[in-house]
């Protein structure tokens, strides 16, 4: 880019930002804010509200599964007609609950709530930028998500009930209103909501990628980026590539539902009468869906892994083990994520040879995953571990990732999957590795960055109690669930009274349900701690965890623009913990090597020569001062 053009864009930024930041009124400041930190909090609060709704749903169907004779009349004030006069849950509504639970948790909580919160909050703060590349798009992204939320929420209250075809919405079940009450208006609203959701994710993701690549502060080269940022970047790329494919599949489904095309439908008889649709293929939908669906599970997990890397290194007071290997394994996982989707389709009558190819590719994912697991453990090894709640949840994440990943390897074998597919074994697998692990990532992130978000600390003891109850509760729920799955319990069944073999496991199901309720109740400790601390928590110090990353150099309550005066310059990576010879056990990224002669390695002394050059660069400042 020529110098003149560079100046021109710099100038453009100035004018663009000045005119709508002069005197932000209430609406601009808290509602239609373009400040990434406010948008992050909007995502977080919305995500938490959705989590409460989504998890409550799971408690309702867990009661149904564990206690088939329970009288649910007490739920009538909330669920109304979905509870029969004799206190039974409506079987159709059971399916709707399972579907909405999956949709809400996967997309609204662990995608929007997790990426939306931490990518938004941490990317500008950790790379030393004033804000996202486009604050306006970022604001739109949240409000599209909000719109999607409103539509999805509304669908819970319509007379025919919300969508009920599972979170994967396979046609023909989802395509034909005759198939299920929820496949009528409920499904229409589901599709509309998800279309807006996809737009929101694309707007957000495009912004994250652009910001990370173009708006890093001086000195912040790619090999000095914290692993959190790497994880968010890769997550956003995954989303950018896979969400349009979901849009595609949703679009064709909409045509099938509302215009009578036959992309997914063929030879269907209802009550002995043939439908006019011929020539479609329901398997086609599965291909399209899982091409998104598998990357989606990593979209959910990778931010958690990034957060964990950061927190584990900080609280072990040690450099992260294998920084480059961590990046390489994330890139490897991201690449492989696009070529393994058919492991969800082993039993669709796929050619067994093709099945073996996908099995092979699937099992390769275990390699980069294991690299990450080992690196976390070796980072912890002989560290001066500080057990903050954030750290506990990060270690918990590693544990869940390993135990859930192991069952993935079992499922990845196409022969074993014939027995295990669509049983509770799969449910247990992905709840450990995706659901619980990412939720732990979310908790870890909230505990760790709460001081930066709200300028106050969360209560430490409550955090510790919350961790132990949740950690134990999660395993009590999901370890037994594997056995239920191996025994052959299929997922998405209203009750198991029709078979003999299921009777033997009723007490196990009861146990799981009790454990689930226990874990659910424990989350109120978190909710209380979170909302109470926002207003009444102890005031946060500048750098509560003695961490190296740039966000802790910003003011405790940063304004829009993050840093007063100049943006910080970066001279080193973010993992200089317990460096031999150093005065403190951490050296923040903005400390030049020329100030730490006592702890520099020889090659770092050579870098001192470049510091002047780094200091004099300042092209990325979007608007010159915080305001």
């Amino acid at each position: 880019m020529s110098a003149i053009e560079g100046l021109e864009t710099a100038h453009h930024h100035d004018t663009e930002h000045e005119h709508h930041h002069e005197a932000p009124n209430f609406w601009q400041k808290y509602i239609f804010s373009e400040d990434h930190k406010v948008i992050a909090k909007q995502y977080l609060i919305t995500g938490i509200l959705w989590a409460v709704i989504g998890i409550s749903m799971s408690i309702v169907f867990r009661i149904q599964l564990g206690f088939q004779d329970a009288n649910l009349s007490w739920l009538k004030p909330v669920l109304g007609g979905w509870i029969s006069d004799s206190g039974k849950l409506d079987p159709n509504f059971y399916l709707a609950l399972v579907t909405m639970h999956g949709t809400i948790m996967v997309f609204f909580v662990l995608t929007a709530g997790l990426s939306g919160t931490f990518s938004n909050f941490l990317i500008p703060l950790q790379i030393g930028a004033r804000d996202m590349a486009s604050g306006f798009m970022n604001m739109l992204s949240y409000w599209f998500f909000f719109l999607a939320s409103v539509i999805m929420f509304a669908s819970l209250f319509i007379q025919t009930g919300p969508a009920a075809g599972g979170w994967v919405i396979y046609p023909p079940l989802s395509a034909l209103p005759q198939a299920h009450p929820g496949s009528g208006l409920g499904m229409t609203l589901w599709l509309a909501s998800m279309a807006f959701f996809i737009v929101s994710q694309l707007l957000g993701g495009i912004n994250y990628i652009t910001t990370v690549i173009n708006l890093r502060t001086r000195g912040m080269s790619f090999d000095r980026l914290p692993l959190t940022i790497w994880a968010f970047l890769i997550t956003a790329v995954l989303g950018l590539i896979s969400f349009p494919v979901l849009l595609s599949s949703v679009l064709l489904l909409i045509f099938d539902r509302h215009f009578g095309t036959s992309f997914y439908l063929s030879d269907i008889y209802i009550n002995g009468e043939a439908l006019p649709n011929v020539g479609g293929s329901p398997i086609l939908f599965q291909h399209l869906f899982w091409f998104l669906g598998h990357p989606e599970v990593y979209i959910v997990l990778l931010p958690g892994l990034g957060i964990t890397s950061e927190i584990i290194a900080t609280n072990s007071r040690k450099p992260i083990f294998g920084y480059r290997a961590m990046i390489a394994s994330m890139l490897g996982i991201a690449f492989l994520a696009f070529i393994v989707w058919a492991h969800h389709m082993f039993v669709t009558g796929m050619n067994p040879f093709l099945g073996s190819v996908f099995m092979f590719l699937t099992l390769i994912i275990a390699v980069p995953s294991a690299v990450k697991g080992f690196n976390y453990i070796t980072t912890l090894w002989r560290g001066n571990i500080v057990f903050t709640p954030g750290m506990l949840f990060s270690i918990g994440l590693v544990s869940l990732f390993v135990s859930g990943g192991l069952t993935g390897i079992i499922l990845g074998n196409s022969a074993l999957d014939i027995q295990l597919h669509d049983t509770y074994f799969v449910v247990a697998h992905f709840h450990l590795v995706m659901g619980a692990a990412s939720a732990f990532g979310l908790f870890a992130g909230v505990y760790h960055w709460f001081p930066k978000m709200f300028g106050r600390m969360m209560n430490n003891s409550l955090g510790q109690i919350h961790f132990w109850l949740t950690f134990i509760g999660i395993y009590l729920v999901f370890i037994p669930m594997h056995y239920v799955g191996i025994a052959g319990f299929p997922r998405r069944y209203y009750q198991f009274t029709s078979y003999d073999f299921t009777n033997k496991f009723m007490d196990m199901n009861m146990f799981i349900s009790v454990a689930a309720i226990f874990t659910f109740v424990a989350q109120f400790i978190f909710l209380w701690n979170f909302f109470y601390s926002i207003f009444k928590g102890r005031k946060a110090p500048q750098n509560p965890w003695r961490s190296n990353t740039l966000e802790w150099t910003a003011p405790i309550n940063p304004g829009h623009g993050n840093w007063e005066g100049e943006l910080p310059a970066v001279y080193r990576w973010s993992y200089d913990y317990s460096k031999p010879g150093a005065k403190e056990d951490f050296i923040p990224q903005n400390i030049p090597y020329s100030q730490t002669l006592e702890s520099n390695f020889p090659h770092e002394n050579e870098l001192i020569a470049t510091e002047k050059a780094i200091e004099s660069q300042n092209f990325n400042d979007q608007f010159k001062n915080a305001h």
């Binding site: 495009i206 173009n214 011929v278 470049t610 660069q617």
Partner: protein, 194 residues
């Protein structure tokens, strides 16, 4: 010696890689590419299963392709004119682009009518449905391209596009060329796998 080497190597590491707005545009194009890539692969997967209606593409789609190509050339002309501050040419060129874009849309619509006359409907064998979906989705993007063009057109007539303010027209031209290439891809694809 080595430290000097380092310096030379490190110095150009200016972290700003590109104009963020243009970068955003490119990422946006990636998402559109994925949308159409998934559509065309769905087409191939479905076609491989047999029961596939074959029909000849109406002639008018050849003509519309030519029209879109010419509009792309006009767009490039507009860009060059803006670079040289030749405002008159710029206005003419950008107007031609816009009109040809409209003409393209109209021809696509005529093409649909001819398909209907050939008894190839949106509702029916997926081969026809896909044809409508591809052309329709592309047409939808052309409409968005026309809106972008319209803004550039207005800016051009207010003399706001000139050699020192090229960003808007650059973004507009990139998007328009992209839509052109996208159509060429779809056109060749539909011809090859009819």
């Amino acid at each position: 010696m080595e430290s000097i080497n380092y310096k030379v190597e490190k110095e150009p590491q200016e972290t700003l890689a590109m104009d963020p707005m243009k970068f955003i545009l490119w990422l946006f194009l990636v998402s559109i590419i994925m949308l159409f890539a998934s559509q065309t692969s769905a087409y191939l997967v479905r076609r491989a299963e047999g029961n596939w209606l074959e029909f000849e593409m109406p002639r008018i789609f050849w003509y519309s392709t030519v029209v879109l190509l010419i509009s792309s050339i006009a767009m490039q002309w507009a860009y060059f004119a803006a670079k040289k501050d030749q405002f008159k040419q710029l206005k003419i060129a950008i107007s031609i682009t816009f009109v040809l874009g409209l003409a393209f849309l109209w021809m696509q619509f005529e093409g649909w009518k001819q398909l209907v006359a050939m008894n190839v409907y949106f509702v029916g064998n997926p081969s026809g449905s896909f044809f409508y979906v591809f052309t329709g989705l592309h047409g939808f993007h052309i409409i968005s391209g026309l809106i972008v063009l319209l803004f550039s057109w207005m800016a051009a007539f207010r003399l706001k596009v000139h050699a020192k303010n090229l960003r808007r027209i650059q973004i507009c031209a990139t998007y328009w060329h992209f839509l052109d290439i996208l159509w060429l891809y779809l056109f060749v694809f539909l011809l090859t796998f009819n």
